[in-house]
Amino acid sequence: METLTPLFTLRGVGVSLGGRRILDGIDLDIPKGRATFVMGRSGAGKTTLLRVLNRLNECFPGSETCGDVRLHLERGVVRPYAGELSLPELRRLVGMVFQHPNVLPMSIGKNIAMPLTTVHGFGRDEAMDAVRMALEEAQLWDEVRDRLDTDARTLSGGQQQRLCLARTLAMRPEVLLLDEPASSLDFMSAKGIEELLESLRGRYTLVVVSHGLEFAARLADDIVVLRDGRVHNRVRDISENRAAWLDGLETLF
């Protein structure tokens, strides 16, 4: 088995929220360029673990994170929690898509362009190119190319979620955190999102929280199963024998 370059290494990471322990003693490597699935029952701390990676837990009052998190970048290893990387910088490297599509109350085009112009200082044309690229990458371009100026809230749920994905992709992150991206969608839309994610696999490091076993078995390289805030089980390289894993996955929980 080849040794994979890790992107994130977590050692002894714990998170408490308002005095309640959500995560405890997490040791985890997230390899670069691969799809890591975080699974587990509701309340196991999956979303919190995801938010450890982009320090989004800190948006909640009373949250505390301990332990060591390292991010391996081309320029070297940085520890985001030790202030070696500013929050916005970290979050620009680590893009995130939420469970519910949260489009902004503005046009489709602006939903993608606004963060670009705001964060990266894109000019109008540069932003429009990026919008197009991102929408193509999210396989939404053909559906919305004629109505970039309409309100994004008129899109269907699946389209909205793909728009959110496009918005995150447009920021050119290194890592994509996906928090049950398909769970609030209907079957067809969910399938569309899953297919889209498959197309992204290999191009980005993906960290996905998901309940879909089949989806995990199809897409995941590694699987981390959480239980009560701890790593309960860990499977690497399931891509070798996906079919077999699909049967065995249930036993992991």
Binding site: L56, G62, M171
Partner: protein, 600 residues
Amino acid sequence: MDQTPLCRRNPSRFCRQLFFDRLVRILSCGSGFVSLATLAAIFAFLAILSLPLFTQGQWGQILSWTWRPYQGFYGILPMAAGSLALSVFAFALAYPLGLGVCLFVCSPRGGLMRRLTLSVVTFMTAIPTVVYGFVSVFLLVPLLRKAMGGSGPSLLAAALTLALLILPTIVLFLHGAMRDTEKRTRLTSASLGFSPLQALLLVVLPGSAAGLRTAAIMGYCRALSDTLIPLMLAGNAPQFPASVFDSVRTLTAHIALVVATDNSSPAFHSLFACGLILFGVSLAVQAAVRKGPSRAMGDRRLAMLSFLAARPACRVLVLGWSAVSVAVVLGAVGSLLAFLLARSLPVLDLHLFFGDTPVLAAVFGREPVWDGLFAACAGTVALVALASLMAIPIGMGGGIALSLYLRGPWARALRFSANALAGVPSIVMGLFGFSLVIFLRHTVAPEANTSLLLSALCIALLVLPYTINATAQSLETLPEELRLLGPSLGMTSWQSLRRILLPAASRGILGGVVLSMGRAAEDTAVILLTGVVAQGGLPRGLFDKFEALPFTIYYLAAQYQSEHDLNKGFGAALTLLVLTALLFCIARALQARMEKEWKH
């Protein structure tokens, strides 16, 4: 694909963003602490200036039932009793009415009437206190005198007017909370088979328990802290009220009446004790209601509501009450406005504003205006502009700091200070301003004087908590995923705020700003002590004394010397009303434009 992370491509830009973010953070936290510092300063002034009462052993004298300073009796208990009686009475009248109106406004029936009621109630916030007082002096008091005999100015007259005054505060807070809950739970209740009224009683009301409480706090504090209504309508006799027809004096009116005494006399110091009492009571009320039974509604009240909802007769009762409340409120406001218009429109002309001075010469300040309202209008506009200039940025900064940047004890301290400051009666703020000037004169700035600047400062501090709370509340009610979106995209907190959160929260924030500007325009108690004059012409600078419409109205209501003066009073009342209504509309228009901008 270009593999260099975008954010590293332009480091100087990124540094700028970070610097700006930090700057905004510091500024907003700094402005947050303005309210904390103000509160501390007010408390310090009240405490220090009432201290001689303790050191000279006059405390026992203060806590007595007789106020006869000319005979050496400085008891303030009658005033405390008056304040309590009046505020409780007014609140007991207004809260059920407010609830009734709100049930009507929130029910899905009666589209046009509902919208009309809501806009009338919203409009009531634009009616200045002094106009309520003015109209009551000429409409309600003669009516009461005719109906019940007695002298006219009484606890009853003041309580009725005060109830009308605090009603919109209660209704709007309630409605805000209930509308949100209703939206959230509409489908759930429908699916459970509730009728709209049942949904209101069983789902929306219990779900808005926090809103009910906030409405109660805000309403009661407003009643307790008002100065003008009791000053104009309660008769001001320093006695314990034995009946509702008795004349009473509240602590607030007491301060306004007595402030003009020798700075070293016990009477003067006792005012600060009054201030301390008002301060303490409003703190206690807020603490008690806030800390009350956690978030949800108590079982007993729930049981009562389900009792009401289950029985048709009770439902009819509830509907009836809400109809009665709407009728009472619309009737009262309608007659108030009708009376005001009927008396003021016939006398409204250029002469009323400019007297005999040519209009252009007056507007450009070349000739002073005699016998006209022009200077008062100009003074009020200058005052509101100046106060808003100070209060809005600081208040918004504080609100932002509260919801975004501050955590733990600092956030609690700021929240506490904002709430406490909101409860500080405006007359206490005026007293603070006045003693501040005395203090400055005796220490660092011997030239300090009551002036436009001082008034604007005090009024800005007075309306600061409204802006802080409105900003913080609006930001905090945004959905979690919207709040996380900016950070997840790598925006700095300022970018997220500017691009995502503020536009989304603009309605609520502007609502608070509307309220606060309206209050700035109408407040009389503060300027009464900090630099307003009955005659003075246009202010020529920040350090001039000034005329103001609300004071002119208050002044003329009590002491018009001729029919012309009376007409001037009515004209001024209408003008102030139009001015505040105009402010209101401007803010609304701004709000609509901002929303439109945000949508495209």
